[in-house]
């Protein structure tokens, strides 16, 4: 989920979520960045109203309740 957190961080700070900005943040955290995942993230968020998507309850799968993401 690091990539998502990076996106949220940028969003909250009012910054654009681009491949570069996401990469910068992940780099700074000492994370080895996977370009494809960054690209996928940026593409997935392109048409998304982030404010809405982050506040709207996601489909509640029991899996989410079970194990905490590691």
């Amino acid at each position: 989920m690091e990539y998502i957190y990076a996106a949220l961080l940028l969003h909250n700070a009012g910054k654009d979520i681009t491949e570069d900005t996401v990469k910068n943040v992940l780099d700074a955290a000492g994370i080895e960045v996977d370009d494809a995942r960054v690209k996928a993230l940026v593409a997935a968020l392109e048409d998304v109203d982030i404010e809405e998507a982050m506040s709207q309850a996601a489909f509640a799968a029991p899996a989410a309740g079970g194990s905490s993401p590691s």
Binding site: M1, V48, A53
Partner: protein, 301 residues
Amino acid sequence: MEATAEEVHHTEHVPQWKIEEVEDIKNLIQSYSLFGIVSISGIPAKQLQVMRRELKDIAVLKVSRNTLVTRALEKAGGTAKDLEDYVDAQIGLIFTNENPFKIYKILEKSKSPSPIKPGAIAPKDIVVEEGATGFPPGPIIGDLQSVGIPAAIDSGKVSISETTTVAREGDKVSQKLAAMLNRLEIYPDEVGLDLKATTYEGSIFTSDQLAIDVDQYFSDFTTAVRQAFNLSVNAAYPTAENITTLISKGVSEARNLGVNATIIEPQLMDTHLSKAYSQMLSVAQIVYDKDENAVDDDLKQ
């Protein structure tokens, strides 16, 4: 050379040790990144010694005369001078290189319960729990009752018969109640170094700024995690953490659509049939309640 002249002026009237003390405080202020003022009121000298020892790896604790402290603050200048307002009553000085929030937390945790003084304001609700006391029967029963604590003899001991709130937060505690609480070994007060304000890297932090609301942080983290999860799922960005949810979501959506739109699909036939059958039974029940003869025999069972 006005400063020197003033220095000379003072040296004429001020003993050497005072000058050294002021210099010492000034040096401490300048050699630590954090300088704070703590209230030491109500702390016995002996306990203060213990506290100083316990803190020695983290911070330097110094107690001096307020006039000298004020002098030192003036000499140190900068933000230190702004702490003058907090120099009143019984105070001590604390010097550390720790994070100001951490030092505040450490000091808060080091506070220990202490008896409440007569006439003091209750810092929180004071509750006396029901149950046996160690006291043998005697006039204490009347004493308890006179401060509003119901008491009786139980198995040869004085026992408090009901959990009672004897003072609300902010209430003044009477002499009688304070004495009784002390006898019951209930210590509603807290004694310890009470950090009033600190300077830190050019800013001043007061105690209310330094108090960390751990619950708030916890709930912020929970919110952030939920937001991230929501975003990842709602944007259908697959990760190891949400892929199961995404699959479940897709499956449920397909199922919902299939069932709600009655799409003829082998995997859904059981559901369609069950649904129709259940609906039929529901309606049949209502019909049957109105007129037994409106349903056929196999439904009457």
